[in-house]
Amino acid sequence: MKIEFTLNGKPVDVDLSPNLRLIDVLREHFGLRSLKEGCGEGECGVCTILMDDRAVTSCIIPLGMVQGRKIETLESIRETHNFKIIRKAFEKTGAVQCGFCTPGMVVATEALMRKRNKPTRKEIIEAISGNLCRCTGYHMIIEGIEEAVQKREGI
């Protein structure tokens, strides 16, 4: 079935089964290898992408659901101004340890920074509630996001 959507800023179409998981289509058909799979059940957040500016887990989204929508992965988020700030901030606060959760955390942070100018700590915690981290105990990640938000303020 023909499915059309916008992927990382470009209109694309594919002729594949609408039941396929979005994560598989993005990885295999579009070669977006930044996208990793963890649990495959929407619980860990490693496969987080943006759909119409909202952070969602691509392992439980069927391809048909993206018809007519805007999809963004880390490949294009990497090019945003926010990303540079986020990366620096994460480095500064030690938010990256093993790095397993980092791509998903970055996408979730980007979604938050688009939505809110000055998110509160509560909003930050909520924004990454779908992203599990086994290493940092979240503290350094939350600080990293606070740092990123402040740095963006400063410019």
């Binding site: 039941n19 799979e37 957040g45 439980i60 069927p62």
Partner: protein
């Protein structure tokens, strides 16, 4: 037969419903997990999918004088972000899943999935919400408790779709929601409780207590509620044992790995009593 349907309008979707057996899919957060297969293989569905995400008719949130209307396709996230949504529903949804799931999951999906642990259900039972079901033949209204007929079972007919949820508009002095689960947001709840109460001149004038995840469907006892309505705070305290007994009969947890049935029963009865003693009595 087509692999799937991607209608643009409700009319088109209802035509598909009439013409063949399909599986409606809104956010897919229940369906994708239920049909998941190991190893990155596409999930297998018994029927072609009918995608509902493009239907604008399912997206409304409206305040009317006597009710609030919420479209079946409204996202859980929108229930938190947008107006006018009853505060207690907002509070309930804040404790459901994580943002990433709430960003695709819909209220209609939570209802039609009819899980005993569906977290919006106690709120909907307590407020006596009505669902609007539509087919090409016409539409009908059902009270939520008549729509949900068992675990995973609803009165939805094969040619119908759930279009909207109508929540009678009423102010409550006491509006309480509590979820007891292993992890606050991610785990499906062990117990999900919604309670509403009003007082007039020092007497309890309205009371609704709905407990989810402790029986095949949400438990709400009018009989128990009636025992307390019309009483003063002091009088209510003396009736608590009786209320516990009524609910004790109705609470029949489906024992599963999430917790033992006995524990659930004990906790839900304590929760009921806590609600009446602390929340309701304070409101009066």
């Amino acid at each position: 037969m087509k692999e799937a349907y991607l209608p643009e309008t409700l009319q088109e979707a209802l035509q598909v419903r009439k013409d063949q057996k399909v599986l409606p899919i809104a956010g897919g957060t229940d369906l994708m997990i239920q049909h998941r297969r190991e190893g990155g293989v596409a999930p297998a569905f018994e029927y072609p999918l009918l995608f509902l995400h493009k239907l604008k008719e399912l997206k409304k949130i409206e305040q009317h004088t006597d009710q609030i209307i919420i479209g079946a396709g409204v996202l859980l996230s929108q229930l938190i972000e947008e107006q006018p949504v009853p505060e207690l529903l907002r509070k309930t949804v804040r404790q459901m899943a994580a943002v990433t799931t709430r960003n695709v999951a819909t209220i209609g999906g939570n209802i039609c999935n009819a899980s005993p642990a569906g977290d919006t259900l106690p709120f909907l039972y307590a407020t006596e919400a009505v669902v609007l079901l539509q087919s090409l033949e016409g539409s009908r209204h059902l009270l939520i408790q008549d729509f949900i007929t068992g675990p995973g079972k609803t009165a939805l007919k094969e040619d119908e779709l759930l279009v909207e949820i109508r929540i009678p508009y009423k102010e409550f002095k006491v509006a309480y929601y509590r979820k007891v689960g292993t992890r606050k947001a991610l785990a499906l709840s062990k117990i999900s409780f919604a309670g509403l109460a009003n007082f007039e001149n020092g007497y309890l004038s309205d009371l609704r207590m709905a407990v989810g995840a402790v029986a095949p469907t949400v438990v709400r006892s009018r009989e128990a509620e009636k025992q307390l309505i019309g009483l003063t705070v002091e009088e209510m305290k003396g009736k608590m044992q009786f209320v516990r007994e009524i609910y004790s009969e109705l609470i029949k947890p489906i024992d599963d790995a999430r917790s033992t049935a006995g524990y659930r029963k004990a906790v839900s009865l304590d929760l009921l009593e806590w609600f009446v003693r602390e929340e309701v009595c304070r409101g009066g």
